[in-house]
Amino acid sequence: MRIVIIDDSGLRATVLEEGLREAGYDDIHIVPPRGGFVARLERMAPDVVLMDLGSPSRDMLEEMLSVSRALARPIAMFVDQSDESMIGAAIDAGVSAYVVDGLRKERVKPVLELAVRRFNAFAKLQTELDEARTALSDRKIIDRAKSILMSQRGISEPDAYALLRSGAMNQGKKIVDVAQALITASDLLGGGL
């Protein structure tokens, strides 16, 4: 079974490809949805095409599939109306699949289930990365506010932090918000670092 993954994100495609290989599928190709990807895909004549539901290029792919002779009457995977939960899971995970008509449903189902699991795992990873990135930038903001306090009021770093912290507690705000307000005020007053 030849599987093509159409994806902008190299990492997500790799996560999915790995999963499919572990499950014993070995004819897997990754195609980014750019330039002449449609013609490339046509030459590959895949049995299953997996794509991010959120990609705007999905309309281009579907148009190609509707006029192409390479893929005989491909159908969207969640046509299996009998399995509502699977449709929901696929849409929530952001996976769409096009399958050559005639390929037995039970052969394709594990591929789609795996794609849903891997897409979800990737989304979780992405969220964690975003959170880590936010945490990092939060720390930078707090560090900058601390150094403003240290230089303006001649206090130590722990004291500067304690001051921010008590300010946040008194106002019912997050430390990073108080720090940001301090930086903005300091910039406006021309007293920034």
Binding site: P56, R58, D59, I75, S96
Partner: protein, 400 residues
């Protein structure tokens, strides 16, 4: 009691009525908590609706008909009791292609028939077929572009290459040279003009003075089972549409739509379609086109069955579906004037008494009978002067 409704939309200027219904509280006043779900492709918007992930969608009118006829993946009967807008499209082409046309851009836009003939004559001179982007096979844009090209003897399936490009990727595709022009809903035509990549070649409103564009589509069974929610939503949208059409609100509306979670383009670019002041070429002063995009005027939201049938006639014409009495009945029944009337039965909104009319027959504003006082129909002519009698589809098809 509050009803929660999820509605899928694409980030386009003509999603305005939905955005305003939520952000200005019109939905809330009708007891509806509106959750707008952004989609980036028509395929995904369609799947969300067909598989019940949302209750309604901001949908291309021909796509709603195509899904009902089983032409676009999973077949499902859809119902459109409300039109979200008429008009709002623009065909833009790269300068080297626009150069073959009347250099007076205003004259070019005023005379779509002459421009189509100029375009047809130039096709032989270009070294290759022009590649024109359309947002979807089953879009009003594609239907109008085909109608316009064919008026000058251009076969859209043979003489040009129509390539599907989702709206948000049109400008990028122009820049990369993948397409020579495109027809799309705003703000994308204006964005390409602003980027100096293209100039206006034709305006949707000049091709069909009142061209059907987006509809609010539901799954028919859901629509039938939830009359109260549907009616409340329609009432909210009617008030939202009136707000959107009011010139006093255009600036605020442009700013509202410019937000990242909505259209996410500069407010001044979005504002052009709303105010009908269109920049046709980057170095030109704006051209006045007051009917460029309409939400409310002249009972715009009323879903005339004859309009659904006109769109159907075009799908038949381009061999996307076979004409049978059954298919015509299915296509016509996608538009639901009966639901529109029911929802507004206790309001003072004037509603047409008929559900069908001859399309393309009104040359200047016409006062007609309505359930409540006077209603004015705007001009609805096609640029080639054809009229469409929905009772005589075969004759109309034979005329091409």
């Amino acid at each position: 009691m509050t009803t929660s409704l999820r509605i899928a939309y694409l980030p386009l200027t003509d999603s305005a009525v939905l955005a305003v219904a939520r952000e200005k509280g019109f939905a809330e006043e009708e007891g509806i908590a509106l959750d707008l779900v952004r989609a980036t492709s028509w395929a995904t918007l369609r799947d969300r609706l067909v598989f019940g992930q949302v209750q309604a969608a901001h949908m291309l009118a021909p796509l709603a008909i195509a899904v009902t006829l089983g032409l676009s993946q999973q077949p499902a009967p859809l119902a459109a009791p409300y039109k979200l807008n008429v008009n709002g499209n623009m065909l833009v082409m790269a300068r080297e292609f626009a150069q073959a046309l009347d250099p007076d851009v205003v004259a070019r836009l005023d005379d779509p028939l002459g421009t189509a003939h100029d375009f047809a004559a130039a096709i032989g001179l270009w070294k290759r077929k022009p590649v024109i982007g359309v947002v979807h096979r089953f879009s009003s844009h594609a239907v109008m572009l085909r109608y316009w090209l064919a008026s000058a003897g251009v076969d859209p399936d043979r003489d040009v290459l129509l390539r599907v490009v989702p709206p948000s990727l049109t400008v990028e595709a122009m820049r990369a040279g993948e397409i020579d022009g495109f027809i799309a809903g705003e703000p994308w035509g204006s964005a390409a003009v602003d980027a100096g990549l293209a100039e206006a070649v034709a305006i949707g409103e000049r091709i069909w003075r009142r061209g059907v564009e987006k509809v609010l589509a539901f799954r028919t069974p859901w629509l039938e089972e939830n009359p109260q929610a549907v009616d409340a939503l329609i009432r909210a949208l009617v008030r939202s549409a009136a707000w959107c059409d009011d010139p006093a609100n255009h600036e605020a509306l442009a700013h509202l739509l410019s937000q990242p979670h909505l259209v996410d383009q500069p407010a001044d670019v979005i504002g052009r379609a709303l105010s009908g002041r269109i920049t046709a070429r980057a170095d030109m002063p704006p051209v006045d086109m007051p009917d460029f995009l309409l939400f409310s005027l002249e009972a715009t939201p009323f879903p005339w069955r004859s309009q659904a049938l006109w769109l159907y006639s075009q799908l038949v014409r381009w061999k996307m579906v076979e004409h049978t009495a059954e298919n015509a009945a299915k296509a016509g029944s996608v538009f639901r004037p009966d639901i529109f009337r029911r929802a507004l039965a206790d309001s003072n909104v004037p509603i047409p008494g008929a559900s069908m009319k001859v399309e393309g027959a009104v040359a200047s504003p016409l006062a007609v009978g309505s359930k409540r006082g006077e209603l004015t129909l705007g001009p609805d002519r096609f640029f080639d002067g054809r009229v469409f009698d929905p009772e005589r589809i075969e004759d109309f098809l034979a005329s091409f």
